[in-house]
């Protein structure tokens, strides 16, 4: 059964549609499906995640079948098919970062935020998850926060605590 959020109708702002128009103009005529990945990023940045209603709207905009959007959104790891916290803290969990303490950092985040990987804190502010290599292996441990994917390097427990406190105050 669909969750309540998934049944909610979705509206795209005029700014979002203008952005989609600009993105679509980057490709030759008839190849507008190329705009799919960038547009999904824009939609997620505005709505926080990709509901099936939102994906259907993207399909209608690009004049493609909804399944063409679903199969792409479910293939790539950056698209959220479920609601997440306002801030999703994504920690690199691949080899080189683990050599410099990424696993301990994730344990610490789980304790500090009080939620398991992928879950949302009660106030709706935070989620966290381990992600694969973020291409910053020399500056690990690292984490990023969407939708602009702000990047934090050379982390330790204290720096993460400070970051979480700052985000809470925003």
């Amino acid at each position: 059964m669909l969750k309540v959020e998934e049944q909610q109708p979705v509206e795209f702002s005029s700014a979002l549609i203008a952005k989609c128009d600009e993105i679509s103009s980057r490709y030759p005529d008839g190849k507008q499906k190329s705009a799919l990945l960038p547009i999904l990023h824009e939609v997620q940045a505005e709505l926080g995640w990709l509901s099936s209603n939102a994906m259907d709207k993207v399909a209608a905009y690009l004049k493609i079948e909804p399944i063409e959007v679903y199969e792409v959104a479910s293939f790539y790891s950056m698209y959220f098919l479920q609601p997440k916290g306002k801030y999703v803290l994504e920690v690199c969990r691949t080899g080189p970062c683990c050599l410099v303490g990424a696993e301990k950092l994730m344990e610490h985040m789980e304790q500090t935020l009080g939620v398991k990987e992928g879950e949302v804190t009660a106030d709706g502010l935070f989620s966290w998850r381990g992600v694969e290599c973020l291409a910053a292996c020399g500056f690990g441990p690292v984490l990023q926060i969407g939708p602009e994917y702000t990047f934090y390097e050379n982390l330790d427990n204290q720096k993460v605590d400070t970051l979480i406190e700052e985000l809470r105050k925003k």
Binding site: F75, Y79, V100, E132, C133
Partner: protein
């Protein structure tokens, strides 16, 4: 001091802006190519330089360019592969962050050489800050007349667009990247046809790594012959090495190919040795996909000669005693690191990133992860070790794209060189959960080869 071609001005304040970049000689290559050279002459210079693809495969860039089909009336494309996702590799992010115009300038010269009027830079979606940086650099270049219609009065038109990915390692494979750029899942295509014949939208396409494209700039400025003089043998020019792991100074270094590995790890000009006064246990020299080597084989060849940072020297000895240059992702492990745990970590990565198209890779990577997980967590059996070798052999060479090989090699090489550590995990499950196997004899120096005197 070694020569620097790409990172020479990295510490100049404002080098990320067009003005400062031009003060430091930027966009000379565009003026030289568009005003004084024909596209074929640019291709010829790149061929002469001996530049080899910096993304991992090491295929000669000039030769790749010369394969591009040029049918009448069909568009051609240059696509820059900035989907840097190989664990241990972070040089492209560095270059794009600090000197974005080096990539844009390289894109203009390379697109001109290939006759492309629209080019795309496919950047992994997580690098949103770098996407913004590149978009700003493109806008600056366009305002200065280096992009758009009739560039510098040459009659040549070019537009460059930045395309974000969606978070998938597989899109670093060139045909998967093209699928993704067409708005589809990143499933690699069956080759042939190669992208040079049928690539983006079925048109002839060249896909090159960020560093390869940036290297075209010094090649055109100084000439292919000058570039070829740097380096050693068929490993010409300079290479960006991403150094990570337990090093005193991890980071991105530009080296002249042919530098001894020992100097790279221990000298103060580069990594400054192993962090916290520990000893080196093992390295992965070219990104997670290449075979892992124990410290002794990292520093010396099997015959005791010093190993060098070059395509040939790193692969000397084949997979029995060698590894590969790959993308230049150099990961160092100190004596406290567990090879089994790291191999399990890499296996989880490949299982997560397998696109699922070929069953040997889709199923095999999952099996390897599972078996390595139980070995690492104290439930392994002695037969698991050979089972892993068996599974890795059945993946290798049996998949459409090289992700299968990339998943198989780290596992096979870890068992080849560190089998006693795997066996220890089976024999001593409790100890292996509490501590590590240590450095054993992995750092025992290899004796210098005896040189036969000929009378």
């Amino acid at each position: 001091m070694a020569r620097k071609l790409l990172l020479e001005h990295i510490n100049v304040p404002g080098i990320n802006t067009l003005d400062v970049y031009r003060q430091k000689g930027g966009y000379r290559a565009v003026e030289k190519a568009l005003k004084t050279l024909t596209p074929d002459e640019v291709v010829e210079e790149v061929k002469k330089s001996g530049l080899r693809g910096r993304g991992g495969a090491g295929f000669p860039t000039g030769m790749k360019w010369s394969f591009l089909a040029k049918p009448e009336g069909v568009a051609r494309y240059l696509v820059c592969n900035a989907d840097e996702s190989e664990p241990g590799t972070f040089k492209d992010r560095y270059l794009m962050t600090y000197i974005p115009h080096a990539l844009i300038e390289g894109m203009i010269v390379s697109s001109f050489a290939l006759g492309a009027n629209t080019s795309y830079i496919y950047v992994r979606g997580e690098m949103m800050p770098q996407i913004r940086i590149l978009e700003r650099a493109i806008a600056e270049a366009k305002a200065a007349g280096f992009l758009g219609k009739n560039i510098l009065g040459s009659g040549y038109d070019l537009e460059i667009y930045v395309q974000p990915g969606g978070g998938a390692y597989i899109c670093g494979e060139e045909t998967a990247l093209l699928e993704s750029l067409e708005g589809k899942r990143g499933n690699p295509r069956i080759k042939p046809p190669f992208p040079a014949i049928a690539g983006l939208y079925g048109c002839p396409t060249v896909v090159n790594n960020v560093e390869s494209i940036a290297a075209v700039v010094p090649i055109i400025n100084d000439g292919g012959d000058e570039y070829m003089k740097i380096g050693i043998g068929r490993s010409t020019g300079t290479k960006l090495i991403s150094a990570s792991g337990n090093l005193v100074r991890p980071g991105v270094y530009e080296i002249e190919l042919g530098l001894p590995v020992e100097e790279f790890i221990y000298s103060d000009e580069y990594c400054g040795g192993i962090a916290n006064g520990k000893r080196l246990k093992a390295t992965v020299a070219g990104g997670s996909s290449v075979p892992v080597l124990p410290a002794n084989l990292t520093l010396k060849l099997a015959n005791g000669e010093p190993r060098l940072m070059s395509y040939e020297s790193l692969s000397e000895g084949g997979f029995a005693t060698g590894t590969m240059m790959g993308s230049g992702g150099f990961i160092a492990f100190d004596e406290d690191q567990c090879i089994v745990r790291n191999t399990w970590n890499f296996s989880r990565f490949y299982h997560h990133e397998s696109c699922g198209q070929c069953s040997p890779c889709r199923e095999g990577t999952g099996w390897m992860e599972k078996v390595l997980h139980r070995l690492e967590h104290g439930h392994g059996k002695m037969s698991d070790i050979d089972l892993l070798v068996d599974v890795s052999k059945k993946i290798e060479g049996n998949t459409i794209c090289p992700l299968g090989d990339a998943a198989a090699w780290p596992v096979a090489s870890a068992i080849r060189h560190f089998r006693d550590e795997f066996e220890w995990h089976v024999k001593e499950p409790i100890k292996s959960l509490q501590g590590n196997y240590g450095i054993a004899n992995y750092a025992v120096p290899i004796p210098k080869a005896e040189v036969k005197q000929e009378n």
